[in-house]
Symmetry: C2
Subunit: 257 residues, 2 copies
């Protein structure tokens, strides 16, 4: 059973401040925990209902140092999601330091203040599908280890390296490296489908309502836009969702690749 | 002010049964109501806070037969969303009958049991962006006039015709019309980027976890798959979200167009 202290501790990990202090995060639900178990991430504690443990307490779980059984009502208390899961893992946030030299020859996504956890998680899943080498998010983006990002990423967070740094500093440092073109996805840029694209480089996606900050656009080499198409009905939507845009842009980079 | 009866009536429209009976739906929030006002849809009633009415009660609203002021607490009671809006419209569901002869020369999306309102709305927005002529959803899909679909579609529901019918009947009727190829997006099909694609036809997307029913796959002419790409890290995700898949597939159809 879960102690009161343990419940408070797990709940504290809903907040970025405590995740940063403890270097721990929570991953909820069977599917996500399964992906975590198959990754290189280190699980400290597994909390699960008696039913889950009866069904899954096999050799895979034997390597986890702490396994705690919890009542469904306690799962509800510690969950950050609308529907409490049968199982939750507490795992270590990997220590990552971005070495800019390792960006060469790679395809990287830069997220400028993507705030919605669902969008961030969706983008990680897309990045994983298209073999993006890393996702680099601005300091004002939602935290990649936010429980709702972890949920939406459906395990892809454990397979695509994610860094959180100041993007202006990064782009200034990389500026004018011909081997690392920087693409900004904006409204009113070049047609994605006819613009020249390289195999490696950095692609920036912006905030849900504000887009990419002007300062970052100025540090980019090429501005790309997904064209809309006229159908039988009139006016087009103003924009596409950032996850949808990332999917279309990455598909095009990889198709040409 | 809103009467108790009016509040009950508006809340009843959260349910498909009453929407079908009344042939009315609700659209919430400034942005969505603005799109509704600029469309051909007929608004019966507008409910808004005093602040909204003070700012927006101009000539556009003069054509609406009934305008009601509501307290923020009443807006909360009638809203189907997590955050109550400043404004809500009650509008007529257009009477639509699908005439299969009008599918010729057009690009149509078929949704086989897409259940998540967010996904359905996102797909409508993408369909609108790429000038899709109509979206045809199976009878077990979420209702297009569900308040959460209306919200997620961000106005695109008012610009792309949506039909709800039995897809097996439709495909059987169309079967072997060489001018109307039917594409099914599945796992393990032909590479989307190298398969021949036509300018018009029907593209089927399936349920979030089950994909497209086998019976419908058998009625399709061509099975398409979005290829995943190997990066520096290992195993790919099992699948992409249905909205993301629709975006990539439609972009490819239109790019070739």
């Amino acid at each position: 059973m879960l102690s009161k202290n343990k419940i408070s501790f797990i709940k504290s990990l809903h907040q970025k401040k405590f995740r940063d202090e403890e270097r721990l995060f929570i991953a909820e639900g069977k599917k996500v925990v399964e992906e975590l178990l198959s990754s290189n991430f280190v699980i400290r504690t597994l909390v699960a209902t008696a039913d889950y443990l009866a069904a899954f307490h096999d050799t895979t779980l034997d390597e986890i140092p702490e396994i705690l059984e919890a009542k469904p009502s306690d799962m509800e208390r510690i969950s950050a999601l609308t529907t409490a899961p049968e199982v939750m893992a507490i795992a270590e946030i990997p220590a990552t330091v971005l070495d800019v030299t390792m960006l060469k020859g790679k395809l990287s996504l830069l997220l400028d203040d993507v705030r919605d956890p669902g969008n961030f998680g969706t983008i990680l899943r897309i990045a994983h599908w298209f073999g993006v080498d890393q996702v680099i998010s601005s300091l004002n983006s939602v935290d990649a280890f936010n429980p709702k990002v972890v949920q939406a990423a459906m395990g892809s967070l454990f397979h695509v390296p994610v860094y959180s740094i100041g993007l202006e500093g990064l782009l200034s440092e990389l500026k004018s490296d011909p081997e690392l073109p920087v693409y900004a996805t904006v409204l009113g840029g070049e047609n994605l489908f006819t613009a020249p694209l390289s195999k490696s480089g950095l692609i920036i996606f912006g905030n849900e309502s504000m887009g990419i900050r002007t300062s970052l656009q100025e540090l980019s080499d090429r501005k790309l836009t997904i064209p809309s198409f006229e159908g039988s009905e009139g006016n087009r939507p103003e924009s596409l969702n950032v996850g949808v845009s990332a999917a279309i842009v990455l598909a095009e980079f990889r198709r040409r690749g």
